[in-house]
């Protein structure tokens, strides 16, 4: 239409009435609507980019050491801390009324708004809070003293202050510099002793306790099978007594050794004075790390940054998970996902093979396909409920009754645990593998199959040597996608075995090494727990961001791997096609 009128500008008015031209052209191009569509895409992309940027930025900056500002307020109050963030707020009228004239003018000029910032003051044990809002107009002076030290402790959160002294083996030594070799050496030695104590407690004492428990359970199982009055029980009871006595001696020795180390460590302390001058003595072995925040070179900063990352990835959590590391959660996520793959891969592939290669294509298979697709859409929490009721309570309860009767009434498999979590997630992700495998199988040309069969290969030989290798990229993609889905899922795990703080890793040095019945920690649940359930969500926030970044890296990494593998294997097989 446009072209008509453009080509014939002299067209009669008659024609232009029936075929209205230019303006209608504007309308027919639907410009405002295309802009709305474009805006929708832009908004979607912006949301995603914003989310990623938020997580990645916060994740990266969390471990950077920040300077410690010492602020003197107009009221004379002194506080010291790291600046966390700032915002504009509307001070209450009575606050504004008390301000100096210039400050009041500033606020009024800003439309009644003023700026305030949040500083992390630490020293929770001294003042009962570790964050403080300070309004800009309240600050009289601010300085960055070079001797202010940030101390990361085992408990009570960070301490911010100056070193004013220390004790070495009970005698006080005048040290005011944390770089003083006497201090550095004493700290290192105390930490070594602390590590030794932890090792003793976990490996030696824990091991002895486990063995005593093992012996007790054996005795109990004899009691259950033979009865209390039987001869074999009496004999077992005597053996138990002697073994328990021997173990108790070992126990005592290890405990004494640990106690001696603890005693030694009591003599090593450091005393700090905070910005207001209140002093606080901290045991040296309870100091994880300390640095003079305002006196760091670039090199120091990078070293602290990397050390914190290493601690985060390799250490146990402290302070109700809000500090320290996430190693148990990372390990738990990894183990659970791996176990899940072990369960899901064979079943998913076998089912897809059945549906595609063995079952007669008809109404039944079509119906099953709809069901499988449907399963993929069933909410994950429903699987959690099923896993709890079926795996943990029904199957696990039965296992306990048959095999672990001596441990009853405390459940072994009859409660949430690693195995049940993996199986639940396997059930959750099996549709992903089935769909992907089916797609991959259907992409294998019929001609290849027929050629193989014509050469005399059996059905299984055809599948094993011809079909499966060609379908492998698709299958692998499906498995990796299932892993990604499983690793990021939290809701069902909350019902079937994830805990806030697991006493031991699911794999360790005591027999039988892999403890499928143990509850475990998980990165996703860690995020929920720290961000949502902890005492002070502000204190946990940085930690949650880093954990979130880690989880997203794991999940996105797996997804990217799926895409890459798919692409690589695709090209490899594309050349091999005939």
């Amino acid at each position: 239409m446009t072209s008509t009128s453009n080509l014939a500008p002299t067209a009669s008015s008659n024609l232009s009435r029936t075929v209205p031209a230019k303006a209608d052209d504007v309308r027919s191009r639907g410009e405002p609507f295309t802009w709305l569509l474009g805006g929708a895409l832009a908004l979607g992309c912006l949301m995603i980019a914003g989310l990623l940027a938020l997580v990645v930025w916060n994740g990266f900056v969390t471990f950077i050491p920040k300077p410690i500002e010492v602020l003197t307020e107009n009221s004379g109050a002194i506080s010291a801390g790291e600046r966390v963030r700032q915002e504009s707020f509307r001070p209450a009228p009575d606050v504004v009324a008390k301000l100096s004239a210039t400050a009041r003018e500033n606020v009024a000029g800003n439309g009644g708004y003023a700026t305030r910032f949040l500083i992390k003051t630490g020293n929770f044990d001294l003042y009962g809070e570790d964050f403080k809002w300070v309004a800009d107009f309240d600050v009289a002076t601010r300085s960055l003293p070079r001797d202010m030290v940030l101390v990361e402790r085992m408990e009570w959160g960070p301490l911010i202050g100056r070193l004013i002294g220390m004790t070495v083996d009970g005698t006080s030594v005048a040290v005011t510099d944390i770089a003083d070799p006497r201090f550095v050496d004493a700290h290192r030695a105390a930490r070594d002793r602390w590590r030794k104590i932890a090792d003793l407690e976990r490996d030696d004492i824990g091991g002895i306790n486990a063995r005593i428990e093992q012996e007790r359970l054996e005795l109990r199982s004899i009691e259950l099978s033979e009865g209390r009055g039987s001869e074999s029980y009496r004999r077992a009871a005597v053996t138990y007594e002697s073994v328990a006595a021997a173990l108790a001696k070992d126990h005592q020795r290890s405990t004494a050794e640990a106690a001696a180390l603890v005693d030694t460590n009591k003599g090593f302390t450091a005393t700090f004075a905070d910005a207001q001058g209140t002093s606080k003595t901290v045991a040296l072995d309870a100091i994880v790390r300390l640095y003079a925040a305002n006196d760091l070179s670039w090199f120091d900063k990078i070293a602290i940054y990397l050390a914190r990352w290493w601690e985060f990835l390799s250490d146990d959590p402290r302070e109700a998970n809000t500090e320290g590391g996430v190693w148990p959660a990372l390990f738990g996520t990894f183990t659970m996902t791996l176990l899940m793959v072990v369960a899901v891969a064979p079943f998913g592939i076998v089912t897809a093979l059945y549906l595609r290669e063995y079952a007669r294509q008809g109404r039944f298979v079509a119906f099953v396909r709809i069901c499988v697709n449907n399963l993929a859409g069933v909410p994950s929490i429903v699987y959690g409920v099923f896993g709890l009721g079926f795996f943990a309570y029904l199957v696990g309860g039965t296992i306990d009754e048959v095999f672990f009767q001596e441990r009853l009434p405390s459940p072994t498999f009859g409660t949430g645990g690693l195995l049940w979590s993996s199986l639940t997630l396997a059930l959750l992700t099996v549709p992903v593998v089935i769909v992907a495998t089916e797609e991959a199988l259907s992409a294998v040309p019929r001609s290849i199959r027929e050629a193989s069969l014509a050469c005399g290969a059996s059905k299984w030989q055809t599948i094993k040597y011809v079909v499966l290798p060609r379908a492998m990229p698709g299958i692998l993609t499906g498995i990796i996608l299932a892993m990604a889905r499983g690793a990021g899922e939290v809701a069902p795990l909350m019902l079937v075995g994830v805990v806030k703080l697991a006493p031991a890793l699911p794999i360790d040095g005591t027999f039988p090494f892999i403890h499928l019945e143990r509850s475990f920690m998980h990165l996703g649940f860690h995020i929920y727990d720290v961000g949502f359930q902890s005492r002070n969500s502000e204190a946990g926030k940085p930690m949650v961001f880093v954990t979130t970044m880690l989880l997203m890296t794991v999940v996105f990494g797996m997804n990217l791997a799926a895409i890459l593998i798919r692409n690589r294997l695709k090209t490899r097989f594309a050349t091999a096609a005939f």
Partner: protein, 872 residues
């Protein structure tokens, strides 16, 4: 092959070399094994699929199933002096004890009916004229002819005895496996120990209250802390005077002797001729009821103990019917009433604004239960739940539940037995004991979930203490008398609300983005945008929940007006930008494709958002009277400005269409040449917008003057974790899914359709909206359905960002509690096989069913779409 060899010519020529054609056994075995394994494995997964549903349903089923009667046993009644003032049994149903009016305590072994010798009370040969006991039955009060009162305890003492310490000379009790030493029952238990049950009885000295008249009716409750109990009791004497008394026990620190002091207040309003048939008092001793056989019930408000007031007198047996039995249900706020015509009603004490009573409460009939064919003679409340039993004149006993109003069991008496004289629930609500003068009967039954019916789960239920029937989910509380309120409706509503708001936000963005990607951008943009979106779909929802709850919710709270304005401002800004774009010469426009427009749109969106943030205080002043939170809760300002803003797009659209219809041809002619068309279009747009704004303001003024207000309903009181946040956060989860699926559907539309449309002279926009989108419609619908399925089941986001308040309202700024979140929050605390556990399974099943329907719909539509496009 063998036959071939046989028929071969003898030995004329050497046999040609033959390869063995038998397949190797190993290959055959492997093939067979693989065959079976794969079939078995495949079938097992299919079985698992259905197993899930069956298992969930199997766990839920007992909720709605009837209870079962486990057995009935009878034994001759140990005839003692007078009627039984109390029948009681221990938790394990090993012993039944009775106390007679003369203080005689007797006990029998429940399973065998054998008599046991137990200590009795000493009333000095006197007979009590009235007796009462607390709900659990272990505290009693007796009233005597001379107006005195005595308190007594009857308790079952339960001890565990190691098998080594077993007393000698125990005799077996029937063939029940229990043993006795003549006075106690010993039961072997699983751990190898013996459980010893014996009766402990103690009675206090006589206490005088004001009157010397014989006591005719009494009721008794013990409240206060265990170490200093406060006993409250209400008495009616032969002279027709009602009294409320309180007995306090004080221990003298020096002598160690206990002294009981009784204070008494007289209850007014009882006339001389009134024959009180029943007196009731509650635990807190602030409510007293006197009932007459005629049906007249007097309710006293005794919150001021020294000055009780007659609050209300009502007739609960209308017409000629007679009141035969009245009792409190546990919690003591509802009364069960039985009449001689067989009817059973439950009365609630409810606060009413227009109550004609002195304390603002009225007694109203809340529930009418199934009638007995003949008159009711006894009512027995249960000791733990809201169950109760009614017995009729023919001896039939019906077990019912007060809240669900359902009839749980009909218990038939021994043939020819008389109507029960007493009826009592066992402590664990698992048995009933009745006594009719010659024998007692023990019914054991198993009623695990008496409180749930389809009606209580999905309908309105009238709970004790509530003003009217409601949908309520409240599964636990601090007190023992608390009754769990388990209606799934608030949770289903929460799920629907979260889904609705998230789709409201996600669908336009996802579909718009999909259409733009499929139709207006090149393959290079698509190659970047699509995988990114797909990657987003795999983002763990716990991350979204955390960011929504900890980061977005506080930001949205502090900048709520900017956020709200942005919802309107972004589309407006985009349209404005589109109009400006018209001014760019056509040739320049044509040179830039979708990518440039996308970049510009991004810039516009960013600009609008930052403009909103900067202008937020001003906008808040204009629209929300300076303080959004105060405004939205209705405290300040009017809704005039916001109403005008909401009316404006509608008025604008109306205007635009009107000008198209009426003066369209004239306007078209006015826009002579393509070069000026864009400018004219912009001018028209601006003029229309301004005119629409004026009209919208006027209209809003009129509406507000007439009393209209946009607040209340969807816009109401603001809380930090609200549906807006949930909708937004869930958008992150749902947008990628809807986007990918619908984008696939759009690209699946055959290219020749587009080519044909464009070839006929349609613009790209016309082709998109009139050809491509309709062709892909079923695919797009399926996409929305799949997105909806995800939103319905999403758990972590709603757990963390929704505030978890199970309230039914559409308020955008209020929280919600979804089915999924409820399961995640409450399941870890639910005891296996308890009612809550099964209810949570029902919640899961409901969720399963909802997603099943949505996903099947999506799947069916998608299959149709595939067929359709294949045919095109």
């Amino acid at each position: 092959m063998s036959s071939e060899r046989d028929t071969a010519p003898p030995a004329a020529q050497p046999a040609p070399y033959r390869r063995a054609k038998e397949t190797a056994a190993a290959v055959l075995i492997a093939d067979k094994a693989a065959d079976w394994t794969i079939r078995a494995g495949g079938m097992s997964v299919i079985v698992a699929v259905f197993g899930i549903m069956v298992f969930l349903a199997e766990v839920v089923a007992p909720l709605l199933m009837d209870g079962a009667l486990d057995g009935r046993s009878s034994a001759p009644w140990p005839r003692s002096e007078g009627r039984a003032a109390l029948i009681a049994t221990d938790e394990n149903l090993s012993m039944i004890a009775t106390v007679s009016d003369s203080g005689q305590v007797s006990a029998v072994h429940a399973a065998s009916g054998e008599r046991l010798v137990v200590p009795s009370f000493e009333f000095d040969g006197r007979q009590a004229t009235a007796a009462a006991h607390t709900l659990t039955g272990n505290q009693m009060a007796f009233g005597f002819e001379d107006g005195s009162i005595r308190f007594a305890n009857v308790e079952f003492k339960i001890e565990l005895i190691e098998s080594e310490a077993r007393p000698a000379g125990l005799k077996p009790l029937g063939d029940s496996g229990d043993l006795t030493d003549g006075s106690s029952v010993f039961t072997p238990i699983a751990t190898g120990q013996l459980r010893k049950v014996s009766v402990v009885a103690a009675v206090g000295g006589p206490q005088m209250i004001a009157s010397r008249q014989p006591i005719r009716a009494i009721d008794y409750r013990v409240g206060g802390p265990a170490e200093r109990p406060v006993r409250a009791f209400v008495t009616v004497d032969a002279a027709g005077v009602g009294r409320l008394s309180r007995a306090e026990t004080r221990k003298n620190m020096v002598t160690g002797r206990e002294r009981i002091s009784v204070t008494t207040a007289e209850l007014p309003g009882l006339d001389a001729g009134v024959a009180v048939s029943a007196a009731l008092i509650n635990d807190q001793a602030d409510q007293v009821y006197f009932a007459e056989t005629s049906g007249t019930v007097r309710r006293y408000d005794a919150r001021d103990f020294s000055n009780p007031v007659l609050a209300e007198t009502i007739d609960i047996a209308p017409g000629a019917t007679k009141l035969t039995s009245i009792a409190f249900l546990i919690g003591e706020q509802s009364l069960v009433v039985g009449r001689d015509d067989g009817s059973v009603d439950i009365y609630f004490r409810v606060a009413r604004d227009n109550a004609a009573t002195t304390d603002g409460y009225v007694l109203i009939p809340a529930k009418s239960l199934e009638r007995h064919p003949v008159g009711v003679v006894r009512i027995a409340p249960a000791q733990r739940g809201k169950m109760f039993a009614t017995a009729d004149a023919e001896g039939d006993v019906w077990v019912r539940h007060g809240t669900s109003a359902q009839l749980l069991l009909k218990l038939a008496p021994e043939p020819g037995a008389a109507a029960p004289a007493s009826l009592v629930f066992a402590p664990r609500d698992n048995a009933l004991i009745s006594q009719n003068g010659t024998q007692f009967t023990l019914w054991r039954f198993d009623l695990p979930h008496p409180e749930t019916t389809i009606g209580t789960i999905f309908g309105r239920t009238w709970y004790e203490g509530y003003a009217e029937p409601t949908f309520t989910w409240q599964s636990s509380a601090g007190s023992d008398a608390f009754e769990p309120k388990l209606s799934l409706i608030p949770l289903i509503f929460g799920t629907l609300k979260a889904t609705f708001y998230s789709l409201l936000f996600a669908v336009p963005i996802a579909l718009g983005a999909a259409i733009f990607t499929a139709e207006f951008t090149g393959p290079r943009v698509r190659a970047v945008v699509k995988p990114t979106m797909e990657l987003m779909a795999s983002l763990p929802s716990v991350v979204l929940g955390f960011i929504a709850a900890i980061i977005l919710a506080p930001i949205a709270e502090s900048a709520i007006s900017a956020v709200l304005i942005a919802f309107g401002a972004i589309p407006a800004g985009l349209i404005f930008a589109a109009c400006l774009w018209q001014l760019v010469p056509r040739a320049t426009q044509a040179r830039f494709g979708g990518l440039v427009r996308l970049a510009l749109a991004t810039a516009v969106v960013l600009l609008t958002v930052s403009a909103c943030a900067v202008l937020a205080p001003t906008l808040e002043n204009i629209f929300f009277a300076g303080d959004f939170k105060a405004w939205v809760s209705g405290a300040t300002g009017t809704s005039k400005a916001l109403l005008a803003l909401m009316l404006w797009p509608a008025v604008f659209a109306g205007f635009w269409l009107l000008t198209n219809a009426v003066v369209g041809a004239w306007v078209m002619r006015a826009m002579k040449t393509p070069s000026t068309a864009g400018r004219d279009y912009l001018a028209r747009w601006v003029v229309t917008a301004l005119a629409a704004a004026v009209i919208a303001v006027l209209a809003a003024q009129i509406v507000v003057d007439l009393g209209g207000d946009v607040r209340g309903g969807v816009l109401d009181t603001f809380v930090q974790r609200n549906s807006l946040i949930v909708g937004f956060a869930m958008g992150f989860a749902v947008i990628p899914i809807i986007y990918t699926v619908s984008e696939d559907a759009l690209t699946a539309v055959p290219e020749h359709l587009r080519a044909a449309s464009l070839g006929l002279g349609a613009t790209q926009w016309q082709t998109t909206i009139r050809v491509v989108v309709p062709a892909a419609m079923s695919g797009i619908f399926a996409a929305v359905m799949v997105g909806m399925g995800r939103a319905v089941g999403e758990t972590m986001i709603v757990v963390m960002a929704a505030g978890n308040t199970p309230i039914i309202d559409w308020n955008l700024f209020a929280g919600l509690r979804a089915l999924s979140a409820n399961i995640a929050v409450e399941m870890p605390e639910a005891v296996r096989d308890s009612t809550l556990y099964r209810m949570l399974f029902l919640a899961a099943l409901t969720l399963f069913a909802m997603t099943f329907v949505v996903n099947t719909l999506a799947e069916v539509v998608r299959l149709r779409f595939r067929k359709q496009t294949a045919a095109m």
